[in-house]
């Protein structure tokens, strides 16, 4: 089956192609969401290897059950829902809270720290802007790392992925009121941690 271009094809349509067993459609879905999913999971678990394993588990679970996808929901919401479930389950099993973006806390040598460091996609700024942005970004990352995992998921989905409260409630399987409370508290905590940014 020849590979086709999915440039202007919606997620729902790509899913239909995937349901027909087209490998290129599976790859397209991975290409579209590997970075958002990996970013969300990494910001929750703060460990690159773990984030990679959990992201892989998420995609395998979603794509192996692609026939169960209900098109009335956004594909990305379904994907994030499974990513969140898998990550929360992992965090319940093992509490991992602190890490630097420079590498895994489990890294013993400088080499292993480099190996586990994160590749950050540049936004095309000038070197000074990029450095500044990276410094602020690192501060934000540290502040997010201090939040409770439930708050992290909600604040990232709201402010990074731009989901509505209703969608977040559906993704994290919590009542709408709880989601609003979590986001409100997360904002307060972030404000405390990032006083200089104000």
């Amino acid at each position: 089956m020849p590979a086709r271009s999915y440039t202007d094809v919606s997620d729902q349509q790509v899913v239909v192609f995937a349901q027909e067993g087209r490998e290129d459609a599976y790859r397209e879905l991975i290409t579209r969401y590997e970075r958002p999913v990996f970013s969300l999971i990494f910001r929750m678990v703060r460990d690159k290897e773990t984030a990679e394993d959990l992201s892989q588990e998420t995609f395998i679970k979603v794509l192996n059950n692609i026939d169960r996808y209900r098109p009335e929901f956004k594909f990305s919401s379904w994907l994030f829902k499974i990513a969140n479930n898998i990550t929360i389950d992992h965090l319940r099993r093992r509490q991992v809270d602190t890490i630097s973006i420079e590498g895994s806390p489990n890294a013993i040598t400088a080499e292993s720290a480099r190996a586990t460091a994160i590749t950050v996609t540049s936004g095309g700024e000038s070197p000074l802007e990029e450095l500044e942005s990276r410094e602020i970004g690192a501060e934000i990352e540290k502040a997010i790392a201090k939040l409770r995992p439930e708050y992290r998921a909600c604040i990232i989905l709201r402010h990074v992925e731009d989901y509505s409260y209703d969608e977040i409630a559906e993704i994290v399987k919590l009542p709408l009121g709880t989601v609003k409370t979590y986001i409100h508290r997360a904002r307060q905590e972030l404000r405390q941690y990032l006083g200089d940014l104000r």
Partner: protein
Amino acid sequence: MIEHDFDEEFVPIAAELQRLPYLSPSRDFADRVIARIDRLQPAQVVPVSASRHLELHQGGHQAVARRRPVGLIRATGRATVGVALIAAAAFMFFEIDVLTAILSAAVAQYAFTIAAVGTQIGALVLGTETIAYLQAGAAQAALLYLVLAAGLITGYAGIRTAAQIAKRKAA
């Protein structure tokens, strides 16, 4: 002004949150995922020991060798019974003499051996290519001969029955 549901103090933080870059997994991430998608993997090969037919296709000589003596004895027994029945029928209905019956039985019993020896001799005399050509049409030829033989036997039986009926009427 951008619409938002938080106080002004959080605006710069929200802006920074939106600027947070996406992080990338390793380069072979997609390949590793694809390798574990069940429906994209080729069908699992059935273990050789699980299928005798597969064993035969893959040259499972041991399995064939084990079964051969039983098969040979069974085939010989069936051939003998078959020949005996044909001979009995021939005696009863066509009054064929004993010598002819024995010769027929022998030919039937050793037909495969005779055919194999004949093929070897034929290969020596005519060449293997000619024999292969002849063997290619052997099945059709055998069917033709069987039809002809059945026709002859039926015709002969019909004539004999008619003659006997005529004899009885004359008597």
